[in-house]
């Protein structure tokens, strides 16, 4: 009894964590499912087929995954470069208009996705810009940008500015200092910003739905099939993305711990 009372917060915390994982377990379980009919979404029979042949039986799914990967990759590169430059300017320089820049970055994060998506739609429609791959890409870079800036800024805030000052004292110019000192130290922050960008883009439904025209991304495919019956292969993609992302994060942690150890030794 005493042990429970002493650790009650940890116990409650772990229960909450378990609750957060329940749907993940269901997604993984359903990826091994052989449903009786297209319209049931309950576990019927165990099979490896979905994992062995993810593209057969759900013909439109794999092209949609490819579209999402492409958009995710390009918008991550775009948002990460633009966002890192912005974060660096905001943290390392004093200049007029910083408050305005901060507000411009905060507002998209404080806007509901329906508003972001629908307002972009009105812009594209009134400019007669055809909806599709490019409009999705434009939208994704836009909403990923603020999250990149926040993440990179946090890393910059934790960095000792004296390291950069020392480089300058040793006659490195600004570009050399950025390239040789700041960028390597900033790399983990940039990497997590990129990972965040990619998962935001790959997973986005609402903004994409307004601006996709006839282009189908993976979430759009899932949404469409939710009405017609969900093929179990969809859960294979969901589980695979989960496992890959988890592996990347864990690997990043291990590399980080190794580096810290090497520095301490």
């Amino acid at each position: 009894m005493n042990w429970i009372r002493k650790n009650i917060i940890m116990i409650v915390g772990l229960l909450v964590l378990f609750y957060m994982f329940i749907p993940v377990f269901v997604v993984i379980a359903l990826s091994f499912n052989e449903p009786k009919s297209r319209l049931t979404y309950t576990f019927d029979k165990f099979t490896f087929d979905n994992w062995l042949h993810p593209c057969s039986g759900a013909e439109a799914m794999c092209p949609a995954v490819m579209v999402s990967l492409k958009i995710g990759l390009i918008s991550t590169i775009g948002a990460t470069i633009l966002g890192t430059l912005m974060a660096y300017a905001l943290m390392r320089y004093r200049f007029r208009g910083k408050g305005v820049a901060n507000l411009l970055l905060f507002l998209p994060m404080a806007s509901p996705e329906v508003v972001l998506g629908s307002s972009l739609l009105t812009l594209f429609v009134s400019a007669s810009f055809p909806l599709g791959f490019w409009t999705i890409l434009i939208a994704h870079i836009m909403f990923c940008l603020s999250f990149v800036v926040v993440t990179v800024k946090a890393r910059l805030a934790g960095m000792d500015p004296r390291l950069e000052q020392a480089a300058m004292d040793l006659y490195a110019n600004e570009w050399q200092t950025f390239r040789r000192i700041t960028l390597p130290l900033l790399a983990p922050g940039i990497a997590s910003a990129a990972l965040l960008s990619f998962s935001l883009s790959f997973d986005d439904f609402i903004v994409t739905n307004f601006n996709s025209g006839s282009t189908v991304t993976f979430p759009m495919f899932v949404w469409g099939s939710a009405q017609r019956g969900i093929p179990p292969q969809v859960n294979v993609i969901g589980s695979a993305v989960f496992l890959i992302a988890l592996a990347i994060v864990v690997l990043g942690q291990i590399i980080g711990a190794r580096k810290r150890k090497a520095l301490a030794a």
Binding site: M10, V26, L30, M86, Y93, A110, L120, I206, F218
Partner: protein, 283 residues
């Protein structure tokens, strides 16, 4: 640090330009669209005549959905705060060497697609699921009672889906709390609850404010949960209305007015909330 004044502007320019073009301009466009003559259509084109009546129409027809969205989002936010606080507290102050692993575990579920997780809840809460049968057997739920397609399911989905947005800011502010302050409160004969109430809770307020905003804003505009977990009638949220008005009915002026009203309502709510809660450093 530098003598060249233009450097920061050069660094900011590409990103700022992107946001100006694809965030600010669309907002103005949305505002303009909301004032078009509603008798036009996408095919025939719209006439701009400052038709403020779109707002009157939008509000008089859809105020129940507005009200419902904010109610659902508010309940989900409070529930998420209650659920996330112990988790954030445990990770920040009780986890020791397990901190990083637990943090990864908080984020990990959200690497699975939002839609797939919500669809997983439809399987868990569906009418033939073992969970619902269990609740019926122990008479928490009446015979033939449902969870799916009820307001309860939608609120539950909203609560679940935005949990990390609540947990992470709470964790960030709780991590800054010096555990010695809690010990000091105990040394001064404060009861554990008082120590929490007087010391930890006030120190974690920035996290509470940030977390509630980050949960409430996306929850009030969301329509995925209402669509997948809700029913036909009393679960429709304003996001569903906006989505259908734009994409199915093509009623752009009304839809734009609704979208603009949602944004305005949220800006007002957020501003007054931040002012009352007294954390101006949020931006």
């Amino acid at each position: 640090m530098t003598s060249k004044k233009w450097v920061p502007y050069l660094l900011l320019a590409p990103g700022a330009l992107w946001l100006a073009l694809f965030f600010l301009t669309p907002m103005f466009n949305l505002g303009a669209t909301s004032l078009y003559d509603p008798s036009g259509s996408l095919e025939t084109g719209y006439v701009m005549n400052g038709h403020v009546g779109n707002y009157v129409d939008a509000l008089s027809e859809y105020w129940p959905q507005f009200l419902r969205s904010f109610t659902f989002a508010a309940i989900a936010t409070v529930l998420a705060l209650i659920i996330a606080y112990p988790l954030a507290y445990a990770i920040a102050l009780k986890s020791g060497q397990w901190k990083n692993i637990l943090l990864i575990l908080v984020i990990a579920p959200f690497f699975t697609s939002f839609l797939l997780r919500t669809l997983a809840w439809t399987a868990i809460l569906g009418d033939n699921s073992s969970f619902v049968h269990f609740l019926q057997n122990i008479h928490i739920l009446p015979e033939g009672g449902r969870i799916l397609a009820t307001p309860f399911a939608v609120v539950m989905g909203l609560t679940y889906n935005f949990l990390p947005f609540m947990t992470l800011p709470l964790f960030t502010s709780l991590e800054k709390v010096d555990p010695r302050l809690i010990e000091a409160a105990g040394d001064l004969y404060s009861k554990p609850f008082n120590g929490f109430h007087r010391v930890v809770l006030p120190l974690s307020m920035p996290g509470v404010v940030a977390g509630t905003l980050l949960t409430f804003i996306p929850a009030s505009g969301d329509y995925i949960n209402a669509q997948l977990l809700g029913g036909i009638k009393d679960t429709t949220m304003i996001g569903n209305v906006i989505d259908r008005a734009f994409l199915e009915r093509g009623a752009y002026p009304t839809a734009a007015a609704l979208s603009f009203l949602l944004m305005a309502a949220i800006v007002i709510l957020v501003a007054s909330y931040v002012k009352r809660a007294g954390t101006d450093e949020l931006v």
